[in-house]
């Protein structure tokens, strides 16, 4: 198996020969064999207090030695009833709550919520606000993907990666703090635009950060992408075929790593994404390594998008006038936003009153997690950590 450092910027397609793992083991036959022998598998609870479940996820694993025979994810430990809270207050009052969904990328939640209200009430957003929203989305996406790189490396024992990723993430958070005043729960998207314009010279800071990040990407590649241990732990592990990926409703990098080109930014462009030149990262292998690489390559695309935003950013107002009391006409509307984890969609139903009848949040992590149980069967316990890490869930939005 050759593990030369790769200089080819294109994603690997075939990859070095790795013996295929996973589906070769028939879990049911194995289970039957164990039953025939009169022994039984060991049931192990992984979580809800386990550092590599990235939150309060509990996996009930049935093990045969090191191998997983069955897996049942238990969720709901972080359920706060956010959707119910939304029904009990006027539309706009729900925006700060959305920060607490996917708390690694709060701005995507703010945007998805604001967009659903805007579509329901027919509110227009000024050009400048749309461009700035794109910049905020991409900056937050970079911060989120950097967190993924760091924690995923840590999951697999490459703890150094966390320090490198957080070094750059700190810069991204400082830029977001400069505009929103917060480092994690930004609450910076309003119905009809943004609460305030960007500070002066903020664009220069963002462009400088783009250069910095780009110069640091080769370091990440040396640490992870070209790391023989990392690749042996991830290549060929937890393969999802493109048919399965679609049937399970996976979205985001998890889906695109399996060869399906579905990126809301391109598929159903919102804000100004239709006017921006960027590539949708699609890989073919569908394994843990491909899911990692998809996010690593998306960093480059986000940098590309950020640079274009400040080339095209027009002058003008940053919010349109919206009445104090918002009473959207009766109907149903949904928004679609490409969050770092996939398709984030708010469905809102109005009956003409100031409070929504129903707000449903289609969280990408919730849908992506459904595939986990089938994916880990037949793999080793240590691979469960790798596969779960590569799906990149945030329990705040799984449980809502």
């Amino acid at each position: 198996m050759s593990l030369e450092p790769r200089t080819d910027p294109n994603p690997p397609t075939a990859g070095p020969e790795t013996p295929a793992k996973g589906p070769a083991i028939d879990a049911q036959a194995l289970h039957q064999e164990i039953l025939d022998l009169g022994t039984q598998g060991m049931v192990m609870n992984m979580g809800p207090q386990h550092p590599s479940t990235h939150g309060v996820l509990r996996l009930i694993l049935t093990l045969d030695g090191e191998e997983v025979m069955a897996c049942e994810p238990m969720i709901g430990y972080l359920h706060r009833g956010l959707e119910k809270m939304a029904e009990r207050r006027p539309y706009r009052h729900f925006l700060p709550f959305t920060d607490r969904l996917d708390y690694v990328c709060s701005l995507a939640n703010n945007l998805a919520c604001a967009q659903a209200i805007e579509r329901l009430a027919g509110v227009e957003v000024p050009e400048r606000a749309q461009w700035l929203r794109v910049a905020l989305m991409e900056l937050n996406r970079i911060a989120s993907h950097l967190l993924f790189l760091g924690t995923f490396g840590t999951d697999l024992g490459a703890t150094t990666m966390l320090l490198y990723a957080f070094r750059e993430r700190e810069e991204a958070l400082a830029l977001l703090e400069a505009i929103t005043g917060a480092r994690l729960t930004y609450n910076w998207i309003r119905v009809g635009g943004l609460p305030d314009d960007m500070p002066e010279t903020w664009d220069e800071g963002v462009l400088a950060f783009c250069d910095l990040l780009e110069s640091r990407l080769p370091e990440y590649d040396r640490l992870l992408t070209d790391n023989p241990i990392f690749r042996r732990r991830t290549e060929g592990v937890g393969v999802v075929s493109s048919e399965d990926a679609k049937a399970y409703g996976l979205t985001g990098p998890t889906l695109r790593a399996s060869g399906v080109a579905y990126d809301i930014r391109r598929w159903a462009p919102y804000e100004k994404y239709a006017e921006i030149d960027f590539d949708v990262v699609v890989l073919r292998d569908g394994d843990t390594f491909a899911r990692y690489l998809a996010r690593r390559l998306e960093l480059e695309q986000s940098v590309r998008i950020l640079r274009q935003v400040f080339d095209k950013l027009p002058e003008g107002p940053i919010a349109s006038k919206v009445g104090k009391v918002l009473k959207p006409p009766p109907g149903i509307a949904f928004s679609q936003v490409e969050s770092p984890r996939g398709e984030l969609s708010f469905t809102m139903v109005s009956d003409g009153s100031p409070n929504p009848v129903r707000v449903h949040i289609r969280a990408p992590s919730f849908a992506n997690l459904t595939v986990l149980a089938d994916l880990v069967v037949g793999n080793k316990v240590a691979d469960v950590v790798a596969i779960l890490g590569s799906i990149d869930i945030v329990l705040g939005e799984v449980d809502r």
Binding site: I75, G76, H79, G81, E83, K84, K246, A247, Y248, G249, L250, V260, A261, Y262, W267, A268, I332, F334, E343, S345, T347, V349, D351, V357, R358, H360, R362, F366, A367, L369, T370, V371, D374, D399, R400
Partner: protein, 169 residues
């Protein structure tokens, strides 16, 4: 352009269904809204998925809403290749909500159906494992139904409890 193509694709896909299966069909841009009769719900979803014209084979979303008088299931199926999506609304009986499960067509809807059961009490017939998913297994009532009224229990471990109307007279 897309509106016309999608409209005709949908009509071809749904041509074989009995009359009255689709109560209304509106296409606006790349989104079609269908109101479907509960009896034909599964047949409609199956046709949308398998028809080569409509090709709505991606399970984008499934939820429900309750207005207090009526309860609806809301399915959203997308066609990644064609770039369009169908919003399928279906009224279910509020007093005893039952709907056919589509987990065999889309395993991705497994958890979504469990969530709708958890919050609205809709029983999906044919679901392999219909249990609560977000709320504790011993939770009483279905919180997203508009007739669900809760009061604080005083215990952070138990959370709000539904009011037993019989006991209060």
């Amino acid at each position: 352009m897309m509106e016309r193509d999608f409209g005709s694709a949908l009509r071809t896909a749904l041509a074989g269904l009995p009359e009255g299966a689709v109560e209304s069909l509106e296409v606006s841009g790349s989104v079609a809204t269908l109101r479907v009769n509960l009896g034909s719900l599964r047949a409609v979803l199956e046709s949308l998925k398998s028809s080569p014209e409509a090709a709505c084979d991606f399970p984008a979303n499934l939820t429900a809403y309750d207005t207090g008088e009526e309860m609806f299931l809301v399915y959203r199926l997308a066609s990644i290749e064609r770039g369009w999506q169908a919003l399928v609304l279906c009224r279910v009986d509020r007093s005893e909500p039952v709907a056919p499960s589509v987990t065999d067509l889309w395993p991705g809807f497994n958890w979504f159906e469990r969530e709708v059961y958890d919050m609205f009490g809709v029983r999906f017939e044919g679901h392999p494992d219909l249990r609560r998913i977000l709320l504790p297994d011993d939770w009483e009532g279905f919180p997203f139904r508009k007739d669900y009224v809760s009061r604080p229990s005083g215990s952070p471990l138990r959370g709000p409890q539904p009011i037993d109307r019989g006991a209060q007279g």
